[in-house]
Symmetry: C2
Subunit: 221 residues, 2 copies
DNA sequence: CTGTCATTCAATAATTCGATTGAATGATTT
DNA sequence: AAATCATTCAATCGAATTATTGAATGACAG
C-alpha cells in the first residue's frame, strides 16, 4: 500500500517530537533553555540531577529537533531551536490546563490565593513602565537575569527577597516576574512582598514570553 | 522543598499530554477524530488494527484530556476534546517540519512533485467558489464526507477516482481536499486527475482545518 | 605530554509501554 | 432470560525508556 506508508513514516517523526516533550524533566530543561543558552552542567546543577542524565535528556531533545548544541571550548552549550518550541510547549500547557482535572487540583492546592494574584498583562506593564509608575523586579537567579531581562527591571532573586526586605519604594506598585507561566518563583515573590506590606502583582508568564512577544530585552555584557 | 513540588507535579501532567501524542497511531486516531465523532470499531477498521488495541490508545488519549468518550447504545463514540487539540497537533507538526531532516527526506521522497502541487489557500478557494469558477472534490470516504464537507463539494472517494474518470466538467479547474495537511489522499487525487488531463490542485490542509478556520461546513442528515 | 575538566558513550538493572489474547461488562434484541 | 454485539479489562510477553555507574572522548592548562 504505497498510499499509507509515507503518512506512517511522517507520523513516526511527529511522534518523536511529542515523545521528547513527554517527560517532566525534559520540560523543565526547556523552561531553563528558554532563558538563554546554557551548558550541560549548569542545567544539571539547576535541576539537581546527575550530569549524564541531563546529557541524555538533552540528546533526546536534540534528536527531536527541539534544541541545538554547540561546542564552545570545554563546554557544550544548548539552546532552543527557535520560538516555535516555546509555542509548542504553550500548546501542551493550554490543553492540559483546559482538560486535566488534576492540573486544576494542583493549581488550587498550591496557588490558592491565585485569584488575588491576577497577573498584569505584558501590554499593561509596558504602558505603565513608560509612565514610570511601577517597580519591576526580576526574581530569577542573577545568571538568568544577566542573559536578558525587562529593561529597567531590578534583579532581586527570590532567595534574597525572602531573607530581607528589598530596598525599593514602598509607595509604588511592584510587579514581579520569573521564568514562565508556571514558574512558582513569582507567586512566592508576590506572597512575600505582600506580607511585608507592598502592593505587588505578577506579570503574566515570564521573560521568554515577553521576549517572544517582541518586547525589548536588556542584556548585561 | 515546597518551592519545586507544585511545578514538578504540573510538569508531570503536561508530560502526560505530550506522551499521549507520542505514538504514531494515536496521532492517526486524532486525525480521524478530527473528521468527526467516531466509534471504536469504526476507527479500528479504518486503521486496520485490533479493536482492543485501538480502545487502549483511545483511553490513553482520554486520560490526557485530548478526547472525550460518550456511550450511545452499544457504541462508544469518541470525539476530540476541542479545537485546541488540533492546534497542538499542528504545533508538533510545525516543529517537526522545521527541524527534522528526516521529515524533509520523506516529503521529498514520496511527494517529489510537491512543488508542482502548491496548494490553494482556503481564502482563495472560498473566493473562487463564490464566483463559481472551480469544481471542488472531497476525496475522503463517503462516511467522512457525510459528517461534514465544504459546501458545494462533490464526494469522489480516492478509490473511485482511480478506477474511472469522474463525471466533472473538464474545462474547470478541480480542487481536491481530504483529511488534513499530510493526508496523502489529496496528493494522489491530484496526480490521478492530472494524468487524465484535468487541471487540478490541492486545497491546503483538510476539512478539519477548514472548519476550524470558521468557514462554512455542510452536513448530510 | 600529562593532568584536569566537561561531556558523551556504554552497560546494567528497574520500570514502563505496547501488542496480543481471552474473559468480563453493558446494552440491545429475540 | 438468553443471545448477540461493542467495548473494556486483565494478564502476558517482548520491546523501549530511564536512572545509574564507570569508562572513553575532546579540549584546554601547565
Amino acid at each position: 500500500m504505497s498510499i499509507r506508508k509515507p503518512k506512517q513514516a511522517l507520523y513516526e517523526q511527529f511522534a518523536i517530537v511529542a515523545k521528547a516533550l513527554g517527560h517532566p524533566q525534559r520540560l523543565e530543561l526547556i523552561e531553563h533553555l528558554a532563558q538563554g543558552t546554557r551548558s550541560v552542567d549548569l542545567l544539571a546543577t539547576k535541576l539537581g540531577l546527575p550530569i549524564a542524565n541531563v546529557s541524555q535528556h538533552l540528546q533526546t531533545l536534540r534528536r527531536a529537533g527541539l534544541v541545538h548544541a554547540e561546542r564552545e571550548g570545554k563546554f557544550v552549550n544548548y539552546r532552543l531551536a527557535d520560538n516555535t518550541v516555546l509555542s509548542l510547549f504553550a500548546s501542551v500547557r493550554s490543553v492540559a490546563e483546559r482538560h486535566l482535572a488534576e492540573v486544576d487540583r494542583i493549581v488550587r492546592g498550591y496557588f490558592d490565593a491565585r485569584d488575588a494574584m491576577e497577573p498584569v498583562t505584558r501590554e499593561e506593564l509596558a504602558t505603565r513602565m513608560r509612565d514610570g509608575l511601577v517597580t519591576v523586579i526580576d526574581v530569577r537567579p542573577a545568571d538568568e537575569f544577566a542573559l536578558g531581562h525587562v529593561p529597567g527591571a531590578i534583579n532581586v532573586p527570590l532567595a534574597c527577597l525572602q531573607e530581607r526586605p528589598p530596598e525599593i519604594d514602598p509607595d509604588r506598585e511592584v510587579i514581579a516576574y520569573c521564568r514562565g507561566p508556571w514558574c512558582v518563583m513569582s507567586f512566592e515573590a508576590v506572597a512575600a512582598l505582600r506580607k511585608r506590606g507592598f502592593q505587588a502583582r505578577r506579570l503574566e508568564d515570564g521573560l521568554p514570553e515577553w521576549k517572544a512577544a517582541g518586547l525589548p530585552v536588556e542584556v548585561m555584557l
